[in-house]
Subunit: 261 residues, 2 copies
Amino acid sequence: MPHHFIRKLGRYAPLSPDDEETVRRLAHETAWVDPNRDLLIDGAESREVCVVLDGWACAYKQLEDGRRQIIGFVMPGDACGAAAVFPDVVNYSVGTLTAVRAARIPGRALLATAETHPRILRAFWLDRLAVSAIQREWTASFGLYTARGRIAHLLCEIVTRLRAVGLADEDGCLLPLTQEDLGEAVGISTVHVNRTLQDLRASGLIALKRQQLVVPDFAALRAVAQFDGAYLRPVRVRDDHDRPAGIEPLTGSVLGSVLSS
Amino acid sequence: MPHHFIRKLGRYAPLSPDDEETVRRLAHETAWVDPNRDLLIDGAESREVCVVLDGWACAYKQLEDGRRQIIGFVMPGDACGAAAVFPDVVNYSVGTLTAVRAARIPGRALLATAETHPRILRAFWLDRLAVSAIQREWTASFGLYTARGRIAHLLCEIVTRLRAVGLADEDGCLLPLTQEDLGEAVGISTVHVNRTLQDLRASGLIALKRQQLVVPDFAALRAVAQFDGAYLRPVRVRDDHDRPAGIEPLTGSVLGSVLSS
DNA sequence: CTGCACGATTGATCCAGATCAATTCGAAGG
DNA sequence: CCTTCGAATTGATCTGGATCAATCGTGCAG
């Protein structure tokens, strides 16, 4: 079984066999969680990072009246919780959408590993930055596009992210979301999600049967969504020989002192 | 003249006089920038952090057809650019809304400082985390609330953030935004912004004349916006004596190795 | 096989907000 | 005082999407 978390991290920094083994050990203890359970609860203090290895979850905020807004999807290989490094109170929840196999990594263990495996930490941080970029993209998508565009945009994001972990092939992927989930994510009613999907289907942009999403012409869907996947591509960091004179790799003890303040 | 950047950082970590002096020196070289100029351009590579000391700017994304979406405001004391630590290509622009006094801190200088002044780095990071939290909040606000709620929510955010740097008093603040700016921020047409503001005024929730925003009853406005400012409050990080046994402050060289990969 | 439950689908109606088109106001400059 | 220009305001009309209310389809437990 491919390890989606390792594969994901590997996109951000080249991991040595030792790095990979270390990550595998960090996330070794896994457990299956039922659909519709919370992995992380709004307002709770979290000292560990939760890694989803299989299945889908979502970050969301919920109102007293029951309405909820999904603010991001957590897919195989994705991590969530605790701002990743600082023990902190999170101000959103993370709930499973399907059955999920998850690993909990104590912040302490992650930090200890960071000490000795800088590439792991780097990959982890870059992944967090990618999450921020996605969040910005959602904001823009909400403000600028109509239902059609928003859904198309979301589907582009999902396919692109799944491809990164090898869970989507050229022309589609598994999409274990109900139309209600989609609606809560893009901020439109279930009924309208249904009609919008029909519209996209009629335009030949997607096919969606059972939980199989097929995108016959990704470029066409991208055009509708005005989707530019650049924000999802791992940042290129220049090699050492490419670094301008004067910028030296730092060597002091930084992260530790920051945490202990 | 109060130094808003220092004041802002001081909220996240107690800064020693030396820390403060160091920040002051880092951000010493400032320049005034006209309104409607870009501090940061979408797609450009950035190796420095830009700190706004006075005036307002905004992060935004722009479409070919000219429409733009503001994805966040940059107010006195706020920093932007380059994911703060990693030299990187940014996928959004930052433009001034008013005249702005800004300082550019080379990533290199910031990192060197981080080495010797952990509290500064910590404050800086926590500030970045707060920005992420705000972004999540915007996503939720867009999906869940109607124009009235979104604008109320935005005003609550603005007042709360300005209070943190001493630029808002109990009952209001300066709001140097046009109705068009507001519209681009909450994803509503200018005309409707106008009508919504009138509505809020009629409800006695706000008064807005020239650029002065008055909020006679903040609690009432919060209620309309379902605004919970917890996400803007600096995270409490426990003191050393409060740390559970086994969690030691780390001391290895982490950040540097990460950057040099 | 039958009933059940949940998700997808459809139809009809209603409304928040967009869009288009003026008009008014206010501050700065001549 | 008069002009000008950007921003605020107002009115009229149009539409994307919400809402309410069924109905249909399908996998599943008894």
